[in-house]
Amino acid sequence: MSNDEPTRPDLELQHSAQRPDALPDADLVHTPPEFAVSEEDVHVSEGEFIVGTSLWRDAWRRLLKNKLAVFGLIVTILIIIAAIIGPPIIKATTGYTYDYIPNNADLIKSIPPFRSADGSFSWAHPMGTDNSGRDLLARVLLGGRISLMVGIISTLVSLLIGVSYGAVAGYLGGRIDSLMMRFVDVLYSLPYIILVIVLLAMFRSNTPTGQLVLLFIALGSVSWLTMARIVRGQILSLKNQEFVLAAQATGVSTPRIIFRHLVPNAIGPVIVYATLTIPSVMLSEAFLSFLGLGVQPPLASWGSLAADGIQNLGIFPWQLIFPGVVMALALFSLNFLGDGLRDALDPQMRR
């Protein structure tokens, strides 16, 4: 294909002379019936391009203006880093791990923070130990790993199910949509925590890891409902836009239109809701572990640590205080971050 009118660089001038505000008289505004275009009109100048700031850069700037969100972001990052590198550091410096029970722990006695077994000051256990003499800091950090893992993986599961389900329902519309969404409504009407308890009790696994996987699946499979609704709503408003028609007109297949063209356009609300799903899933996990249905010993999560701690609240309060405070801090931060992201990605909603 050859264009016999090559682009010429000298059109900067031409263009500026033709800007609407430079038009001296009205009759040029009408397209005359004897439609004639001079050759020069075919070219464009560089000035026609807009240098845009991307949506993400804008959102990032708005996020940084929100002090609570920045606080949430920093604390979240710190907690994640601590959960990842904390346990190996403790092991290297003091030799303690989350399941290390010292030999002399024959008497059931929990050591308070910053004390050694004989009651003198010591750096060995900054958070004290639990009833079996295990280092509480190591266990809280491990609990953080597990809690965050449950939060993130279950959210990913809910993302996978919720986004595909909502997108398909929204795009196909009509009767299929009604049917799919009524199913969601039915699931919504069930008390989800009971559903999870039933799921966990039915498929009870014998190994701690098996139980953990079951927890991911159970929590993920009940937390996708809102995600499906959000995505469906987004797709409904997007699918009548012209770019979808344009994609159809170029012969793009339906699955490709849904997942390559539409879903990326709904990414903002999805990110926001996913960020808010993580703390809510973590809270559910804590609740389940508190009831003894979640993480099984010797593994620990913030919920199971709190459950252990509450039994000795009167005598060894640090067993509840440390996991509880850390968990609260993490949940606050994640929620602040999620709220901040929502404001940053959807500036209209703030007004």
Partner: protein, 333 residues
């Protein structure tokens, strides 16, 4: 019937209805035309006259339900598009029949790079590898006159102006060298200086590729210099159909005459612009007689009672009017 007789597209008695709660909307009600290879057909009409629906019907993109192509034949290069499976139509879309839409601000996906949107078409239809498709995308952008195409190809649509985006749309439409290009009001959303550039671009590319073009517009000024044949649509019906020069010189339908009078003439100082009185009728509740009767300046008793005949005025000139011959004769003088 095949491509050898020179007809790329034959549409016969196409009817597309929309079923709504208020009754059936006959958006397109019996249009027939042929388009030869290399020719340009203009479809003119007011908003809601069915011109866009007619063209979406050609590539079978009418949302169903509520839409339905009730009857007709759309013979594209020998095969009836209404009677082949969806998968086969999808192969034709974008590769042999391509479309350009009205609003370039919304017809590009805001979340995809220009390069990816251009590459998608050729990867799909021409089996290009990623590298080939990328090179092709750059080449296409150069073809449509985007300066510094290689640097621009990885931009997002919001970094382009309206005119530039329409060029990208044209590049995308022409990527697979389609035999038929349907341009649905390609310049409506652009300002006048850009309009001229885009039309000239379509014209040039049409000449170099030999594609046939269907140009949909409500602006008679645009079709005059661009098209070989014209169809004037009103209320889902073809009101007049003729070679462009003849239709401009000698319209045979009161509606066409009204449209031609409504075009502002820059060489004359007009006190007041002419307008056709009234509004187009509700397509779900069409009157018994001529749908234009209520607005027509030469309406007679018969117009309100009987649906007008489709009168042949010359070898290729048809008009839907009880008084087509009279109007045609008056126009000659």
């Amino acid at each position: 019937m095949n491509g050898r007789n020179g007809n790329l597209l034959e549409v016969r008695d196409l009817r597309t209805y929309f079923h709504s709660e208020d009754g059936t909307v006959k958006a397109v009600d019996g249009i027939t035309f042929t388009l030869k290879r290399g020719e340009t057909l203009g479809i003119v009409g007011e908003s809601g006259s069915g011109k866009s629906v007619a063209n979406l019907s050609i590539i079978r993109l009418i949302p169903a339900p509520p839409g339905e192509i009730v009857s007709g034949e759309i013979i594209f290069d020998g095969q009836d598009l209404l009677r082949i499976p969806e998968a086969a139509v999808r192969k034709i879309r974008g590769s042999r029949i391509a479309m350009i839409f009205q609003d370039p601000m919304t017809s590009l996906n805001p979340f995809m790079k220009i390069s990816r949107q251009l590459m998608e078409v050729t990867q799909l239809h021409l089996g290009h590898s990623k590298a080939e498709a990328y090179e092709h995308a750059v080449k296409m952008l150069e073809t449509v006159g985007i300066p510094d195409a290689r640097a621009r190809v990885d931009s997002y649509p919001h970094e382009f102006s309206g005119g530039m985006r329409q060029r990208v749309m044209i590049a995308m439409a022409l990527s697979c060298q389609p035999e038929l290009l349907i341009a649905d009001e390609p310049t409506t959303a652009l300002d006048v200086t850009i309009q001229a550039q885009i039309l000239e671009l379509i014209k040039t590319l049409k000449q170099t590729t030999g594609a046939s073009v269907i140009l949909i517009t409500h602006d008679l000024g645009i079709v005059a210099g661009m098209t070989d044949h014209l169809i004037v649509m009103y209320a889902g019906k073809v009101f007049e159909q003729a070679p462009t020069t003849e239709l401009f010189a000698r319209p045979g339908n009161p509606y066409t005459k009204g449209l031609l009078r409504s075009v502002p003439d820059p060489t004359h100082e007009q006190g007041k612009l002419y307008q056709i009185p009234g509004l187009p009728p509700d397509l779900a509740r069409l009157p018994a007689g001529c749908p234009f009767a209520a607005r027509c300046d030469r309406v007679q008793e018969i117009c309100r009672r009987e649906f007008p005949p489709f009168v042949q005025l010359s070898s290729e000139h048809y008009s839907l009017c009880h008084f087509a011959k009279e109007v045609y004769d008056e126009s000659a003088t």
